[in-house]
């Protein structure tokens, strides 16, 4: 039976008679790949357009409708060594791309205006010190106004809109003082210019917008970059399913499955969708769902969940609507509750602006009143009060946090941590307790050989190479040990028993004890065993969930940071206990239900702890949502990943440590920056109150403080 991979779900009409598709491509290493990929795809029939975006590793292909099946593109790429999968751009990602273009346009306009106004302003400053004529000065001021007013009206939009939204909701944010400051500075400058005054503040207002836009644009660009990587990973992770169409089988992406479809799950494959078994019998590993590592026997009538690993028998599964299963139902109900009860920590920036705005506005008002009572004219009093607003203009304050945010999320990105939530860094820094799930989080998501040291190396290598010829999950785990990825020729798999082949003139067998002619095996702990025999030599290979290679060191380092550690697992107590012992974690619970996990986290919360939950299973999703902050490995169930504040890549646990360390340093730098901004105001405001500020001083103070805050933020890059 030949199978057709049907990817037509992803092909979208792209202009006259052509279809277009976007693919995420894995394995792009260098510039030469661009040419290799594009020319390989161009050789296919009917290709109208092919363009690889090297920055975000995505390939756009358009072809004449009907000229080829989309799967041919994936196959062509596979042949030259790249894994590709069609990619549906998320709506959020498209909106973010539009937002990024808008921000860049604002930035360009503000930058143009700031530079030209500065040119005119410097002329006025130096002219004021020498012999500029009042007519020339007025001309320069009016020219500045001509540039500044439209530029501010255009480039200030993000701040004005956000300030308006905050005021409408009867709160205040950083954009409120920014908007008030910019508007008043511009209005005062126009009035002053009309009165032929010596100084105007057009440059300060526009420069403020320019600096702030730089911060926002970079922040946004960083978030888009991580979002794109996360999108690619999600696309490449997408599984396929074998769907029955009559008696034939069609291979389709999981996204194309609908309730009521019948799918075939072959041995060694993951179940693609929730449903009910209607044919066949097998054992399945549900550790991704429940954390339980012991296999469950299933036969017709059993409920199964997406992500479970099928062992030796083929299953026919009737796909049911999402959320129909009892377990999924319960988890979704718990999730709703957990998400509703979650109190969002107030962000540092909002807290700062809540203190800052009233203080600054009160100071400005007091300055005006003070000068009036001291006998100054209304005009002079107002000008001084506005100068106070301008000099405190929250440039350094507004940059203090986004600058650190950009640098820190860049550092985390390089460490293999992808942030989902904007305020994850601040919440990560707060965490004082780390609760780990066991299966797939402390242990590797896939089982591994655990007694490799006890087997003769050449025997293990031979067994691993032979295992390449089988799709049984234990064989797949064993095949990871193979240094040479070429299967033996003539290897034959006996379904449900094992593989055999002739190697170096002798019969080699890999499989159950009976298959290899060995009578019994004393079961050791919880590992699954397979036997390899070759020319009279026999090796007993134990395969089990192994700890992540650096779990012990990372746990030790986390403890050294003063964090309390705990394990919360759905697996049997005995298994959890042995892991806890190895890691030296005394606080653990086994056999916990999803509701139990939430109760555990709530109890910790009630003690005033801030919990970082690290978990991957479907059963962890509610706990991930309930915790103060949460992390998931990239191998996690989709529902769990969606709840996590950040996702980490790779086989190692190190990213968890990096995330905590980087977040703590970032928070320290944010606080430092806020204090620096406060200090700067403490020096500058008295000068402004006395009425001694000139536009030159304002410009120097603003750029000086912004640059020092930004430079301080760069320290978040340094690796621990």
């Amino acid at each position: 039976m030949t199978e057709v991979l049907d990817l037509s779900l992803y092909a979208k009409p792209a202009g006259a008679g052509t279809l277009g598709m976007d693919l995420a491509v894995d394995g792009i290493a260098c510039g030469a790949c661009i040419n290799r990929i594009e020319s390989a795809v161009k050789k296919l029939p009917g290709i109208a357009e092919v363009r690889l975006n090297f920055t975000n590793r995505r390939l756009h292909v358009a072809w004449a409708d009907g000229a080829l099946a989309p799967a041919q593109i994936v196959t062509a790429l596979e042949k030259i060594g790249y894994r590709a999968h069609p990619f549906v751009p998320l709506r959020a990602e498209e909106q973010e791309a539009a937002e990024a273009r808008r921000l860049t346009r604002y930035l360009a306009v503000a930058g143009f205006a700031a530079m030209n106004i500065m040119l005119l302003s410097v002329s006025v400053w130096s002219g004021n010190a020498t012999d500029i004529t009042p007519e020339t000065r007025d001309f320069f001021h009016w020219a500045s106004a001509l540039i500044a007013l439209p530029a501010a009206a255009y480039a200030g939009q993000p701040f004005f809109k956000s300030a308006w939204r905050a005021l409408k909701a009867r709160t205040t944010n950083m954009d409120v003082p920014i908007t008030i400051g910019v508007t008043l500075a511009l209005a005062m400058s126009v009035v002053e210019t009309a009165h032929h005054a010596q100084s105007a503040y057009f440059d300060s207002a526009i420069m403020l917008l320019f600096f702030l836009l730089i911060g926002r644009t970079l922040d946004h660009a960083m978030r888009r970059k991580t979002r794109a990587v996360a999108g690619n990973l999600a696309a490449l992770k997408a599984d396929i399913a074998h769907r029955f169409a009559g008696d034939e089988l069609i291979t389709v992406p999981v996204g194309a499955l609908k309730p009521g479809d019948r799918v075939l799950v072959k041995p060694g494959e993951r179940i693609a969708a929730d449903g009910k078994v209607v044919g066949g019998a097998s054992e399945i590993d549900e550790s991704v769902i429940t954390g339980e590592t012991a296999r469950r026997a299933v036969a017709a009538g059993a409920e199964v969940y997406a992500g479970s690993l099928n062992f030796h028998g083929a299953l026919t599964v009737n796909v049911s609507a999402a959320g129909q299963g009892t377990l999924i139902d319960e988890i979704e109900r718990l999730l709703d509750k957990a998400a509703g009860a979650k109190s969002r920590a107030m962000r540092l920036a909002d807290r700062a602006s809540r203190v800052y705005a009233p203080v600054v506005h009160a100071t400005a008002a007091l300055t005006a009143i003070g000068w009036l009572t001291a006998g100054a004219s209304l005009h002079d009093a107002l000008v001084t009060a506005i100068a106070v607003l301008i000099i405190t203009c929250p440039c350094a304050l507004a940059l203090a946090i986004p600058a650190v945010q950009v640098v820190a999320s860049g550092a985390l990105f390089r460490a293999g941590v992808i942030l989902n939530a904007g305020d994850a860094i601040e919440r990560l820094a707060d965490a004082d307790t780390v609760v780990f799930d066991k299966t797939g989080t402390l242990t590797l998501p896939e089982p591994r050989v655990i007694n490799a040291g006890a087997i003769a190396p050449n025997l293990l290598q031979m067994a691993a190479r032979l295992a390449l010829s089988s799709r049984h999950p234990l064989a797949v785990a064993l095949s990871l040990e193979a240094a040479n990825n070429v299967p033996f020729e003539g290897a034959i798999e006996e379904p449900g028993q094992g593989v055999h082949a002739v190697i170096d003139g002798a019969e080699a067998r890999l499989g159950s004890p009976a298959f290899c002619g060995v009578d019994n095996v004393a079961p050791v702990d919880d590992a699954s065993h397979i036997i390899f025999s070759h020319a009279g030599r026999v090796a007993e290979i134990a395969i089990a969930q192994a700890l992540r290679p650096d779990a012990v060191e990372v746990v030790k380092a986390l403890r050294a940071l003063g964090l309390h550690l705990g394990i919360l697992s759905g697996d049997r107590c005995a298994v959890v206990e042995s892991v806890a012992d190895t890691l030296g974690i005394t606080y653990w619970q086994g056999g916990v239900t999803p509701a139990g996990k939430i109760a555990f986290i709530d109890a910790l919360k009630a003690q005033g702890r801030r919990v970082l939950m690290v978990g991957d299973g479907l059963n962890d999703a509610p706990a991930l949502a309930a915790a103060h902050v949460s992390l998931s490995p990239i191998s996690a169930a989709d529902l769990a990943q969606a709840q996590a504040d950040a996702v980490f890549l790779g086989d190692r646990l190190q990213p968890v440590l990096d995330a905590v360390v980087t977040a703590r340093r970032a928070r320290r730098l944010m606080t430092e920056n806020l204090w620096f901004a406060a200090l700067y105001n403490a020096v500058a405001v008295p000068v402004a109150i006395t009425g001694l500020v000139t536009p030159l001083i304002a410009a120097l103070a603003m750029s000086g403080s912004s640059i020092s805050v930004t430079l301080n933020a760069l320290r978040a890059r340094i690796r621990p």
Binding site: C30, G31, A32, I34, N35, S39, L52, N53, F54, T55, N56, R101, T104, R105, A108, V109, F112, M115, N116, L119, L120, T133, T136, F139, F140, A143, I147
Partner: protein
């Protein structure tokens, strides 16, 4: 100083030309793949072999 009356607008005009050139580049997707553009210039696929 009458020269300023046309020099300043001229300078502004040049600046505006630059700004519009940038906005055009942005709109036509010139910044869509900055890393790729740097590498594509090195490939010889446009030459006759």
């Amino acid at each position: 100083m009458n020269v300023l009356v046309y020099l300043v607008p001229m300078a502004l005009g040049l600046g505006l030309a630059g700004l519009f050139a940038f906005l055009w580049a942005l709109r036509s997707g010139q910044y869509g793949d900055v890393d790729g553009a740097a590498l594509r210039v090195l490939s010889d696929d446009d030459l006759e072999r």
